[in-house]
Symmetry: D2
Subunit: 308 residues, 4 copies
């Protein structure tokens, strides 16, 4: 089996300040598909082109931010093996029973050195993308709003970047794709890691504020869809942090915006494919501007400082 272990970012649970306002935003403006609500009040969404039941869950809270991040693994045997590997590495794990989240199997939950709650799971009900599995059409009609293809990755912040980076590489099998070095030329200030051929499945940034998230990122098909996303943000007065623009890191094109609760969302396209035989790219501190915002090479304060 050539893809094994961890497959991809599969779900995350976001805190929002006003549930119905957020449901309206994520349905009609951001363009996700609501797939269910559970008796704890959580609302479940998936992207139009995702096949599993849910990838993005919101719950009402008095502060924004992310509760946890879940990766889908290849199968239950992989789940058991990775839990065992985590424990051997000295990480405490907890089993969340199947069904605690709608249409989702048992989850292995653990905290990583940067303070974030991570989960692994092997099972989530496939409900398809509406095209069926026999003679499918090539596109889904009547998609609303920005309508990203899929949940793609997260950028999360915490002090012990080295610890989380090593755990993802050594235990979960991720590869280092790019990194930004600090002024000392030695310290990793940010790293981009992949468990597939994507340029990133997760990114860590060194930051004293543990267990914080910079953004959840969603994939769009083309640069023209990035423009359409920006147009929709303009029309619906979505707060844009920056973009459309291109990153030096990953070469992706992107927009950063905020949901009504102040959670930052990325809607992006592109980026090269990475294979584990490739040498990572390194960015030096003096080229931080080009690394992040390739066009203007100018970082804005908000982008550098706001996390939830």
């Amino acid at each position: 089996m050539t893809m094994s272990g961890v497959l991809r970012p599969g779900h995350c649970q976001l805190r929002v300040l006003d549930l119905e306002e957020s449901v309206n935003f994520y349905t009609n403006v951001f363009g996700l598909v609501e797939t269910g609500r559970d008796d704890t009040g959580r609302v479940y969404f998936k992207c139009h082109d995702e096949r599993d039941h849910n990838s993005f869950i919101i719950r009402e809270s008095d502060r924004a931010g992310m509760d946890f991040y879940g990766f889908k693994v290849r199968d239950k045997a992989t789940l058991d093996r990775l839990e065992s590997d985590l424990r051997a590495y000295g990480v405490s794990t907890e089993r969340i029973p199947a069904g605690e989240m709608l249409e989702t199997g048992e989850r292995v939950r653990f905290e990583i050195p940067t303070g974030h709650i991570m989960e692994l799971y092997a099972e989530k009900t496939a409900i398809g993308d509406g095209l069926g599995y026999v003679n499918p059409d090539v596109f889904i009609e009547n998609r609303k709003g920005i309508s990203p293809i899929r949940l793609d990755h997260w950028q999360i912040h915490g002090a012990d970047l080295d610890g989380s980076r090593d755990l993802f590489i050594n235990v979960l099998g991720f590869s280092l794709v790019e990194k930004i070095l600090g002024e000392d030329g030695k310290t990793d200030m940010a790293v981009w890691l992949t468990c597939s051929t994507k340029a990133h499945d997760i990114a860590f940034v060194r930051d004293q504020r543990n267990n914080t998230v910079h953004h959840a990122s969603f994939l769009l098909e083309t640069w023209e869809k990035v423009l359409h996303a920006a147009d929709i943000m303009g029309k619906y007065r979505v707060s844009i942090d920056n973009g459309p623009l291109r990153h030096g890191i990953t070469r992706g094109t992107t927009i950063y915006s905020f949901d009504p609760s102040g959670n930052r969302l990325e809607t992006f396209c592109g980026g090269y494919d990475f294979y584990p035989d490739m040498q990572p790219y390194t960015w030096t501190w003096d080229e931080l501007g080009s690394a992040i915002f390739y066009h203007t090479r100018a970082l804005n304060e908000r982008f550098l400082t706001v996390v939830t």
Copy 2:
């Protein structure tokens, strides 16, 4: 390690009728980068955005077609393991010494049931894409001609499709992504397999003509680049088989054309990402037209019959 085993299609060796005419075509019109010539007269090329020394090798011959197809594997231990697995599966293997191809390590060669010569290898010198590994730019200037991003996959034909399909799935760890069923509703007439998250790394078509190739396929960045490829084909009088168009299978957009020797080349963009937890798509025989040429649903005789 989440990507293991076979990584990707890495190289292939093509027969051309006139070497210098072909070098001119592949350099100036198709837009590959010549990286070397060896003392047997072979000319080596890579795509601009590939980092390994070569991916496409041509040699002069009195008939067109492909000599062999090579997949890069994760490392030398993987190479040994896969050779062992092949032998255990009843496949004879041969070791081609390192250096037989320029800048390429030892290769394990074997014949598959459809009569094609396959190779696995773990080492090929990384020469990079010209951007360097520190503070890289996001694009390569002065690319010539069609200039695809990378060698992407092949579609090859032979009688014992079932045998080759099973070998790729059971021994090499590929996943079935899509298939076309015959009129009986049971027989696989064509299958698309992946060893990554690409919608296809190789495709097999049932055909009495063993060891034949329908096309070698190269990736372009965008649908606008597909148009530019077609414009270049128009200007340089490249023979186009079909396109620009979209496939039902994989959702990719594409052009099929012929090199000066009559070898069919695909230049394509797009296609969805496939993970091994996903259910394959099936196409029925009556929808063959939509499967192949989604827009017109009309197959042309040349596309169906010409192989080399």
Copy 3:
């Protein structure tokens, strides 16, 4: 006034074999907006981004084809002047009273040497594009189907091409933009004319079948929209004549398809801007293939022979 005289193709009336089937096609698949029906049974449409009440009118008939072609002129004084010029040129004209077509002023109708019925009019009620005239948004949401921007031009056929060409140039003030010469190197086999800076507002092809139409053409915003149009044609089993492809003439990218009655429609994008100080392009007979279908340089029989 720098734009004066004839402004643009403004409306045409098409014959369809089954009215309701056609209304469904033009509304849900082709993506026009139905704006009214009159008591003669005609159904009126406009494109989403057009501001006048109607541009495309269909009526039920036992044969396909176009009844007449209307150009909007600058104002009523221009209408009077052009009628006078036509008569001075020896062309009989007829006045169709205001209101005979919904929301449309008085029309001056005349027959041109190729047998087609042409109309000029100065007034059609502006109903807008739905964005308003104060602080408009930049896009229209919830467009359905292919959803072209506007009616753009027609290609029409008849024997006395020279006569119609001269009338359009000498009386109506059009400019010659491109032409195809016959095998004799002298005869105009086809001409593209403009009354604006578009590469064509009308095209004439020399053909013994007088008063026939090759296609009505509609504008799309981008090459990506051309792809989307083709995808919709694939999904809804619209008969495609050719495309997506690029023309040598005008450089436009395009698809030709047929409505349910067999009327050919073009959905295209691009083309250069032409100013009347520019020298026209000439195509020679031996390059007819590149002129029409730049990529393949191969003309299909259906494209060359089917008119309605």
Copy 4:
């Protein structure tokens, strides 16, 4: 003749601080074609897809800014008529002899109420776009840098906006396409005018600094080319003012950047077509943000204040 009078912005003369640095910038980064130098030291450029000998002239000076703006008119009779109309309107005119600019006929020069020097001319040698006029290809190979299609328009500032607006509308035949009203709901703070079907051939902004220019604007083919322009600006460290983004006004997508002398350049794509029978769009002062930068609705100080 339906296009008459003023055809288009045809040339302008820019002051730069260092001639050779600017020649390098405009040739290799901005991607214009140098077409000549005259004995006063001026360097002449055209865009790759323009057919006249020159459209953009630079001369060395100790301050940045624009010397004059030239519009090409239909023919010499038009030139005489417009000069006569200008004088009848009370505007002093001057004739600059043919040949004072390379390959350019006699020019009628005059000052408008906002203090800018305008020129009309009827003749400039057509040197073509390199494709020829017989069986042309559809694209120009080996374009360098950003490589815009054409000089498109200018935005210029001055106190007596009303005077310049009225002169352009009443004497030169331009149409009002869009305008921004001041806080009083009456005063035109900015107007966009066209002499063709472009959404703008010139824009005026009310500003106490007479005879200043906000930007010269150049057309790109697609939104993908806008991205490529931004990538080139990133690579060559061009100072970007804002973008890529979309305007509410005209719907165009754009980037604003500065040349090495601090002259602002726009590289843009898109915008709707305007015909003189259409009602102009009006923007109110409270929606100024959306009017200018539709996505973020946030104006930056530099964009609002820097002119040359």
